[in-house]
């Protein structure tokens, strides 16, 4: 039997907020357990946007890191969102991060909504009426559930827009407090064993950093020595484009917006005095200048282009090879239309901490991590798939997305998925928003009469409205928790379309 040794030295390279996030979470999770973590910081990317968007896991993450959430909000947060508002063909719909109704995981609740919609049990009922988040956004309201309001934490899950530099500084501080050493360098040169494993890194000043396990959070994928397996090769290149606009946009606050375009979607996110835009399109169909012309025709003005980048169109299916793990590349591969850089890097870290390689039996650890990551990836890609131009014209491309759409369209339910990168309410609301509604009824609800269902949903709708009435406006909330908000144009923009 081969003799394996324990992993004790972990080296993380990269830049930006991904690196700091990895350092902070590993520092919290590993350093007090006799692991040495060295962070090698490469120069920042020139075109990094000055804000970064979290997913709804933000509050849980603060809890894990024992961060005082009020302090993080006051120092780093520039905006909040309770979900995504989609705009397509003169129609809008809301996809909340939190659950529908007020009870998280209530069995067959969503099927109750479907029945009420199909049978028109309540006049003018829309599924958004039963989402606290959707109603809050519609009314221009916002609140974070307090520690004693546990029943509201599920329906009011929120994401935040963070000031990149401030958040990064905070994460670095956490990492350093955990005893992590951070070394800055302009370049690195890896040295490989004959087996293909990395033995050390040489920095620009000649310093050699040795390690047992290497994690690459750089966008450039600096450590992988060879072409790795990709899930989908030979795809057309995907172009990503981001820009900011200083002119106020007439949109609701408290959510991100996805606006339909001829090539797909533009994501619009408010952060203090600016609106940030992001889109992806296939290079075979559109060019950056054509997109810009279209934007101009649509009345977008005062815009400042931040970046145009090309994605490979390939998702890295085997991000852990030998003793190195590519995190930055997998983050980049997915684009940021529906999953931000932070969401993906956090998912990669969660997967890593769940399956941390505790010894150098790399064939097993690679298999465990990569298998788990492939499932995460397939679930993320299925969700992304539903936002692609391909889906709009020819239907879903990935097997999982095809199956989910087919099942929802027939049965109104979804199978159990392994990870939470997309919540059930997100799938549910997106499917309905895209016009997919089930053909067959849910028999588990057949013992509930129409009158009972009507009465339950009607009471719930009123209860949600009462809660919303008691919430502060989004602008007032921000004024209270984010310093200097009153000086920003939020007040001026307050006249968003609260439809």
């Amino acid at each position: 039997m081969a003799e394996y040794t324990a992993i004790s030295n972990v080296v993380v390279i990269g830049h930006g907020v991904s690196l700091s996030m990895m350092a902070a979470l590993l520092g919290h999770g590993l350093t007090r357990h006799s692991k040495t973590i060295t962070v090698v910081q490469l120069p920042d990317m020139a075109n990094d946007c000055d804000v970064v968007i979290s997913g709804p896991e933000f509050a849980a993450l603060c809890d894990i890191l024992k961060l005082p959430i009020e302090q993080v909000i006051s120092h780093c947060v520039e905006g909040f969102s309770l979900g995504m508002c989609y705009h397509k063909d003169q129609r809008s719909w809301f996809v909340p991060f939190g659950n529908m109704g007020l009870v998280e995981g209530a069995a067959y609740f969503n099927q109750g909504i479907l029945r009420a919609l199909k049978d028109e049990l309540l006049p003018e009922l829309q599924w958004q009426h039963l989402s606290l988040a959707a109603q809050a956004v519609s009314a221009g309201k916002f609140a974070i559930a307090g520690p004693k309001q546990t029943h509201l934490q599920g329906p009011l899950q929120y994401a935040v827009t963070l000031n990149r530099q401030a958040y990064r500084a905070l994460l670095q501080q956490i990492a350093q407090q955990a005893g992590i050493k951070i070394i800055a360098t302009a370049s690195i040169t890896p040295t490989y064993h004959e087996t293909g494993a990395i033995s050390d890194l040489t920095l620009d000043n000649g310093q050699i950093v040795k390690g047992d396990f290497f994690i690459d959070c750089s966008v450039g994928d600096r450590l992988t020595p060879k072409v790795v397996d990709a899930i989908e090769a030979n795809q057309p290149s995907i172009i990503t484009m981001s820009w900011v606009q200083n002119t106020p946009v007439k949109h609701q606050f408290g959510c991100q917006h996805l606006v339909s375009t001829p090539w797909g979607w533009i994501r619009q996110t408010q952060a203090k005095d600016k609106w940030h835009f992001y889109t992806v399109f296939e290079s075979t169909q559109w060019t950056a200048s054509q997109v810009e012309s279209w934007l101009s025709e649509q009345g977008f003005s005062d815009i400042e282009r931040l970046s145009v980048a090309t994605l490979s169109g390939e998702a890295l299916a085997q991000p852990m090879q030998q003793n190195y793990l590519a995190v930055g590349k997998v983050v980049m591969d997915l684009g940021e239309l529906v999953f931000s850089e932070l969401v993906v890097v956090q998912q990669a870290i969660i997967t890593l901490l769940d399956h941390f390689p505790i010894n150098n039996n790399w064939s097993i650890h690679n298999r465990i991590y990569n298998r788990a990551w492939q499932v995460v990836l397939s679930e993320a890609e299925a969700f992304i798939d539903l936002h692609s131009s391909h889906f709009m014209v020819r239907g879903a491309k990935t097997t999982l997305a095809k199956n989910l759409v087919a099942r929802f369209g027939r049965l109104g339910s979804l199978p159990t998925l392994q990870y939470d990168i997309v919540s059930e309410s997100q799938w549910f609301s997106l499917m309905l928003g895209l016009g997919i509604s089930p053909k067959l009824p849910c028999h588990y609800l057949s013992n509930i009469s129409d009158t009972e269902l009507q009465s339950t949903l009607s009471s719930l709708r009123q209860y949600i409205l009462n809660i919303v009435n008691g919430m502060p406006s989004y602008v007032d909330f921000c004024s209270q928790v984010i310093p200097n908000t009153l000086h920003c144009p939020l007040r001026r923009q307050e006249a968003g379309s609260h439809g």
Partner: protein
Amino acid sequence: MSEHYKIVILGGGTAGWMAAAALSHFLKPTQFSVCLIESDEIGTIGVGEATLPHIRQFNQSLGIDEDDFIRATGATFKLAIEFPGWGNQNSSYFHPFGQSGEPINGIDFHHYWLSLNQQSSTPFDHYSLAVMLARNNKFARPTAEPNKLSSSFAYAYHLDATLYAAFLSGFSQQRGVTRVEGKVQKVLQHPSGDIAGLQLESGQQINGDFFIDCSGFRSLILGQTLGVAYENWQQWLLCDSAIAVASESMDDKPPYTRAAAHQSGWQWRIPLQHRTGNGIVYSQQYMSDTNAQDTLLSNIEQSVNSEPRQLRFTPGKRAVSWHKNCVAIGLSAGFLEPLESTSLYLAQIAIQTLIDCFPGKPVGHIERDNFNRKLNSEYLRCRDFIILHYKATRRNDSPFWQYCQHMAIPESLQQQLEEFNCTGNVSAYREGLFLPASWYAVLLGQGQLPQFHDSRANSIPTDALITHSNTLLSSLKSVAQNVPHHRQSIMQHPFSSEMKGCGQEKVKYG
């Protein structure tokens, strides 16, 4: 749905009546009718007298009162399964419903137990409240207080499966299920291959839109008529025979099932209120029927009060459980030996999934594919977990165990074992039995120590960890002291002798 939809269930064993009960409860009688055909001449195999906690959820969803159910089925409570002789001939462990120990700093307790292994002789299962209660013949329902020891376990039942079927038969017929007595002479098909109806020996013809095959091992519709192939798993699960016999009820009924390993198989003991179910599962290749029966009878403590009944089976499952307009539930879909009490669970999960994916008219491939994917996954999870017990043995005292120890195993199980050996963890999955805690209970209970465990568990000094472990044991003892005896808990729901006659005399499997 405008047209009336007719569902025909073939077979009145536990699976058939469970299906009838659930369908009659959840499907609107104005739109659906359910007809169950059973023959008084054909015996049923009351498989699965030991159950898993999921059955409680099944009963609750039908609105069945627990007290009524216990009285009607002669049930006792079940907290765990005891496995003597599996790790080696002299060892024994419990697989409880619930975990052993509690995570510390987000690291599972078993890693700390492994780090203490040299310094502590306390077996892993001793850190489970369910096991402590089981060993002391105590039982109380878990409390609903999160993070309290008293809520750290679940429970199931030992029940008389024939009486359970009879109980559900009454339940179903009250809700409009039509029971037809008779034997099927011919299965009638449409030109498409779909099942059109069943012709009985009496000449009566029962037509339907959708058919549920609960005909047991015969798999009359799915297997014999529709020709769905059977996947044979005997290369991993050698046992192909069982002998069952009932004995007098035990004075002090333990709240756990016993599955004791023998030289070429294993023996179960299931304590009911009114009798004790016993049986031996063995491989004909390694043990003769006579030897098996002698072994069984010589290891029963109470007086035997029925004739031993023999059963032959092939472990495995149908390639798909749902083909055309027919779904098989129970033994007609597959068979796994009752080592981990999975039989009723698999029937239950098939019924629940069928309601989740209930077909339109005509049956669509989406509901069928989703059902088959889910059931396939459930069967494979159970299969791997049962094989684990045989593979993770250190016994080499007989050719049977020598084969098991060295046999090739399914790739999925091989990967789990490699992962456990390399990391001390197994992969968790959201769909299907069993949680990682169950894997650790069996692996560690059978003495399979991984090469590595999570080194973060070593960060707590040994002395502090020993103190923590001892405190946990004291807390468990303290909680257990205030729990009533299992006998007292059962006495609150005495078996109703009037119900004895309800179940028709059929072949019992335990």
